[in-house]
């Protein structure tokens, strides 16, 4: 028995050492950087306490980015959960062409996000936008004065949110679909026999049964969205005039492009509380399923 757990530890050690070293070390380093005045190229760094955090909180650009991050995450994930629930319910039963539909629906999630985003940059182009062309053809916008999707502050935020919704919706859908197919078929069927209509059956019986998995999908969505900078970076570079800047992109512009390592590290660390909360909820879900 002893030898067995010794072998176990020996087999586990390399993977844990690698990850602990290359994730743990940067995390610690990030804490050190955030209380220093480190810049790219500076040899000596001093301890400055919480000045970087206080400094960040005092700048309007940071406060705007913080608000955008929450707005961006909240709105896109509400849309994702609503859309994914509807889509998963619709895809549950087998029908002709389901395989093809699944392939098409999954595309936004499997495509590298930077490439999906550049596709949208072209779809929303200021002159050749096919979206505007279609809206104009439907007489919804004035073809002489079309909306500048990525050029006006509010529209730019809306575009970034919608692109992120487009990107994460398929992932939530497949997770919910897995949850739906794990429900014994006879329960919704019994409800239908008892006279509940399709929608009522699903909203009162099926959806409450898959609540844990809806929560899992939501948590992944929130974590991936809150910490993502790719869509914003490709579509708007945080602009126009910081109107779509989010915490991760601001950290990138400050710490990497601006060379202010300390300031960038401090901004990144503002992501941490939400990640921690997400991790705690996930742990609770895991523990509960262990007990039952």
């Amino acid at each position: 028995m002893k030898r067995r757990s010794l072998l176990g530890a020996a087999l586990v050690a390399p993977a844990f050492a690698y990850v602990a070293l290359l994730v743990g070390l940067p995390v610690v380093l990030s804490l050190f950087l955030s209380v220093s005045d480190a810049r790219v190229g500076s040899e000596e760094t001093r301890f400055v306490g919480l000045a970087n955090f206080a400094g960040a909180l005092a700048t309007p650009a940071f406060r705007a980015a913080l608000a955008h991050s929450f707005l961006f995450t909240l709105i896109s994930q509400i849309l994702v959960i609503a859309g994914a629930t509807l889509l998963a319910l619709s895809l549950k039963e087998a029908f002709r062409g389901r395989g093809l539909v699944r392939f098409l629906v999954l595309l936004p999630w499997v495509a590298p996000i930077s490439l999906g985003a550049i596709g949208w940059k072209w779809l929303l182009d200021s002159i050749y936008s096919v979206v505007n062309w279609a809206l104009a053809a439907a007489h919804l916008v004035d073809p002489m004065n079309p909306p500048m999707w990525l050029g006006e502050p509010r529209l730019a935020m809306l575009s970034v949110v919608l692109v992120h919704t487009w990107r994460t919706l398929p992932f939530a859908t497949v997770i919910l679909l897995a949850g739906l197919t794990s429900i014994p078929r006879d329960i919704p069927e019994a409800a239908a026999v008892d006279g509940g209509g399709f929608w009522r059956t699903h909203f009162t019986i099926t959806l409450p049964m898959i609540r844990p998995i809806v929560l899992v999908a939501l948590l992944f969505g929130v974590v991936f969205t809150f910490t993502d900078m790719t869509a914003v970076y490709i579509l708007t570079r945080g602009g126009p005039a910081d109107a779509t800047q989010v915490l991760p992109s601001l950290a990138f512009f400050t710490g990497i492009l601006g060379g202010d390592l300390a300031g960038g590290a401090a901004i990144s660390l503002f992501l941490f509380p939400l990640l921690l909360a997400g991790a705690i909820v996930l742990l609770r879900i895991a523990r509960r399923s262990e007990v039952t």
Binding site: L11, L22, P26, V105, L106, S114, D228
Partner: protein, 274 residues
């Protein structure tokens, strides 16, 4: 049965909206430049004869093939490191370590949630100390920080689903546990290993933030950064080439995902689905 009709409509609408950008990529990549940039034209049709010129330009005149080779190189190296580290760890967590192994497994999974955007600034220091700035090796070293937790978690579920009797029988036949693992378990888990390798590779293909941060030479880019950042000259977007490149990188991944998706979902939702 009205509900059924509504469902069909919902499915069709979602499929159309979600996949339209890819259709648009295909259309754009095959249109002549003069057709693309004529606002009088109906953009959904070929107003002039289609052309492969953008595709030719992409593969012959740009660094795209180079980026593809870079991505493949990094991907293969990362998958190798991932398997070497994750396969023994996952096996041990599934079979040998008991209760603390379960906790360690969850801890490993949580590492997967630590995002590049939290780590890229200190990681750039680590990369600098290792002397790997502007080198593909930086990516080879750093990417396993997310592929190893991901692969360990998936493989753990996979090994748990293999009956214990299999190794027990092999050990009765005189093999040590370690050689039972190598000679019996690894061969029967072949499909699981393939699944994990493929997903680790696609994670590499999808990564953007680290590659953008660590690599500064145009010729050393991966597809994910090279296409959206370096295929743009100044302010000029070569939309035909850009869309061809996006499509070329996306479609193979999409096909692979569809083949292996069910296994991935099983692994991701272990515990939440009963």
């Amino acid at each position: 049965m009205r509900a059924r009709g509504v469902l069909r409509l919902v499915v069709a609408a979602f499929a159309l909206v979600l996949s339209f950008p890819f259709y648009w990529m295909l259309l754009t990549s095959l249109k002549r430049t003069s057709d693309l940039y004529n606002v009088e034209n109906n953009p959904l049709l070929f107003n002039e004869a289609p052309t492969l010129e953008h595709w030719r330009f992409l593969f012959v005149e740009t660094l795209f093939p180079r980026w593809f080779a870079n991505t493949a190189l990094v991907g293969v190296a990362v998958v190798a490191i991932t398997l070497v580290l994750a396969v023994p760890a996952a096996y041990a967590l599934a079979r040998l370590t008991g209760r603390w192994g379960e906790r360690a497994g969850i801890g490993m999974f949580l590492m997967y949630l630590v995002p590049p955007t939290l780590l890229f600034i200190p990681m750039s220091r680590v990369v600098a100390v290792l002397g790997l700035q502007d080198s593909l090796w930086a990516l080879v070293v750093v990417y396993p920080t997310f592929t190893v937790p991901f692969a360990t978690w998936l493989l753990m579920g996979f090994f748990k689903s293999i009956p214990k009797d299999l190794e027990d029988a092999a050990m009765v036949d005189g093999l040590s546990r370690f050689s039972a693992f190598v000679k019996v378990i690894v061969p029967v888990s072949f499909s699981g290993l393939v699944t994990v390798s493929i997903f680790a590779f696609t994670l590499v293909l999808q990564e953007f933030v680290y590659a953008l941060t660590f690599i500064s030479s145009a010729s050393l880019q991966t597809v994910g950064v090279g296409v959206p950042i370096y295929l743009v000259r100044g302010d000029v977007y070569y939309w035909g080439e850009l869309m061809a490149a996006c499509l070329f990188a996306c479609v193979p991944v999409a096909i692979v995902y569809n083949l292996f998706l069910d296994r991935l979902i099983q692994g991701f939702t272990v515990g939440a689905v009963k």
